[in-house]
Amino acid sequence: STDALEAYIKTDGAWIVKITKTRYTVNTVEECAIKCDKETSFTCRSFYYIEKDQECVTLPANSKTDQVLRRMSTTLYEKKEYLQECVNGIGTDYRGTKSKTKTGTLCQRWEGMFPHKPNITPKTHQKADLESNFCRNPDGDKGGPWCYTTDPEKRWESCDVQDCTEECIQCSGEDYRGKISTSESGYICQRWDSQKPHNHGYIPSALPEKYLEENYCRNPDGEPKPWCFTTNPNKRWEPCSIPRCTTEPPTIVPELTCATGDGSLYRGTISVTISGKACQSWKSQIPHKHGRTPDKFPCKGLEENYCRNPDNERNPWCYTADPETRWEYCSVPICGDQPKPEDPIIPVGEECYEGDGSSYRGVMSETISGKKCQFWTSMEPHKHSKTPQSFPKGDLRRNLCRNPDGDRAPWCFTTDPSVRWEFCKIDRCGSKPEPPTKPSLVVAAANEQSVTLDCKIGNGADYRGPTSTTIMGVTCQAWSSMTPHQHASFTPETHPDRGLESNQCRNPDNDVNGPWCYTTDRNQKWEQCQIPDCESLKCGQPAIKPKRCFGR
């Protein structure tokens, strides 16, 4: 029955709100998949399953047609068949969203009667999913999916949808998910999850959004085309020769006057940098030689000298006409409400959150299961509406954990395509700390290294370290001394095994607050000492938490 799930792509923490749906109670997620397969009242494109409630909801929608929202304990399963944008064979099973013909003419809606009165309709071909104005092949046409066109002169035309078996790249191949695994000189590619023969930092588990599968050619870093590390020890990496698709690249909605997110959709005409320098034309190699040319980055709108973001930068930029300044960001306005400008310095890191964490402004960017957070301005791998523009008071900086929408704790979208969002790895302030798990250092502290490790275990009854000042910085009186304070209860004689030889902080009476001493201040007979807990002195775990300032 697990085979039933193979036809689906899973996303944890996601759901789709839809009026049309069917709700079932099932025992397993596989049963829910079977319900979706057997749905008769609509074409089931996805389902979501709530394991705790054993609730199964089948839907006609998917992430291509409807907005995906986040919801705890809900897992969305989308049928691969309906996410695929290519055809197998003549494409009778094509269920993609292409809606233009091969000549670029917009398709007429299948239900429409104008400009053409169709004889193939959703009613006559009920299983063909003739929805909206998407290209389909309900009649087995040899030319593949087609549609009635909106051009009164042309009744219908085929759409020239890319073949699934055709290995080709659109644009710079950032979305290439094919299986070519040989570089252009013929070297076999090194697996991404291997560090041999070449060490590298493109680690699949750390970069799930880059789809670094097997040893397939990929483009995770803004190269002009997919590439791979090679198995030849003398050739670290090389591009792969994958042909460009003959079909049209995906259409974008260009942003002409302002930019959202990283500004990769900006196609306006601003051509001046933030410091007022004129931009160099992308076609030109003067004054700066460069590789960001229009032919290498065909889908990035590298026209004239307009500011663009062809390579996953933070904002649109350009090479400048000033020979002294190679490139600079441009001052393209941000679309919508202007969020608070990002401070150059992140505020002091908070180690915990108060209440529901809406006020949390710390630096955690990792989820409870260790996943990296997606940038709030990014729509990859998860499209969403929780942007700094829509939540200007949410402090949605970088990829830091926040709670902009009043959930019960700080959270973030994850960079793992299969997990939409998760709560973050931060505790609520005042929550019980985890019990110590690594006793090794404590043992070492108590025995071998007690001289060099100035810390206490438990209440510090065994503390024999050198600290001899109190919490207020007052020097301790020697335990054997009677000035300035007279005392009789705790002397080297009364407690010979408690280390009262000098004036160092000790805990001869098992004070729950830890070691203490009589002080040399006449007005303060005794005072507690500040001895750190040995548990807090494990390597790499500073007792005083750093700011973790992320400077720009």
Partner: protein, 231 residues
């Protein structure tokens, strides 16, 4: 450190200041990796191979080192890294007292490679190039950049070796600089800071497309362990 910010006092308790024994003048950073061992850059030790030429200050926040928490140690042994590498070990004449202001950092697993884009932090008392905080321990954070990108012509043009790593912001503005050499580049992972780099070199400081270069510590784990054991 250019850009970045002044650190919280003693929040990077493994940071040490390497000084001349004569004038006790700070000239390089270093990292406490064990109660008696400090890791630093080999180029910091170019002027003298004599351990007595150096002093190590631990537990300080200001370069002037007036804090009561200061621990001062002499160097009893210098172990230079393999030829052609910018790494060295210093043995303290006696172990540091490990407390809340002085404690070692964790070392990475052998041959561990930090994923591209991981956010890491550098600290030091080096040049600030007018960005403030002179004389106080500064910190800054930025992402690790894969050597493939770092070796592009417009970046460091093939100068970065396998046993080195790059980190920085592509647009510049923040970086380690002269005087930070030998200090730590640490990355936070699984609830602890791990020493992944030793501040080594750069083309200027904080220039756009010229990230800093750090010795990749994970490549030297065997050497570190062997050197500490033998010495």
């Amino acid at each position: 450190i250019v850009g970045g910010c002044i650190s919280k006092p003693h929040s990077w308790p493994w940071q040490i200041s390497l000084r001349t024994s004569a004038g006790k003048i700070h000239f390089c950073g270093g990292t406490l990796i064990d109660a008696q061992w400090v890791l630093t850059a080999a180029h910091c030790l170019e002027k003298s191979k004599r351990p007595s030429a150096y002093k190590i200050f631990l537990g300080i926040h200001s370069e002037r080192a007036y804090e009561l928490s200061k621990q001062e140690r002499d160097v009893s042994k210098i172990v230079m890294g393999p030829p052609g590498t910018d790494i060295a070990l210093l043995k303290l004449d006696r172990p540091a007292i490990i407390n809340d202001k002085v404690s070692p950092v964790c070392l990475p697993e052998k041959d561990y490679v930090v994923a591209s884009g991981t956010e890491c932090y550098v600290t030091g008392w080096g040049e600030t190039q007018g960005t403030g905080g002179d004389g106080i321990l500064k910190e800054t954070g930025f992402p690790v950049i894969e050597n493939k990108i770092c070796n592009r012509a417009s970046y460091l043009n093939g100068r970065v070796k396998d046993h080195e790593m790059c980190a920085g912001n592509i647009e510049g503005g923040t970086d380690s600089c002269q005087g930070d050499s030998g200090g730590p580049l640490v990355c936070y992972s699984q609830n602890k800071f791990v020493l992944q780099g030793v501040t080594s070199w750069g083309l200027g400081c904080a220039n756009a497309m010229k990230p800093g270069v750090y010795v990749r510590v994970s490549k030297f784990i065997d050497w570190i362990e062997k050197s500490m054991k033998e010495n």
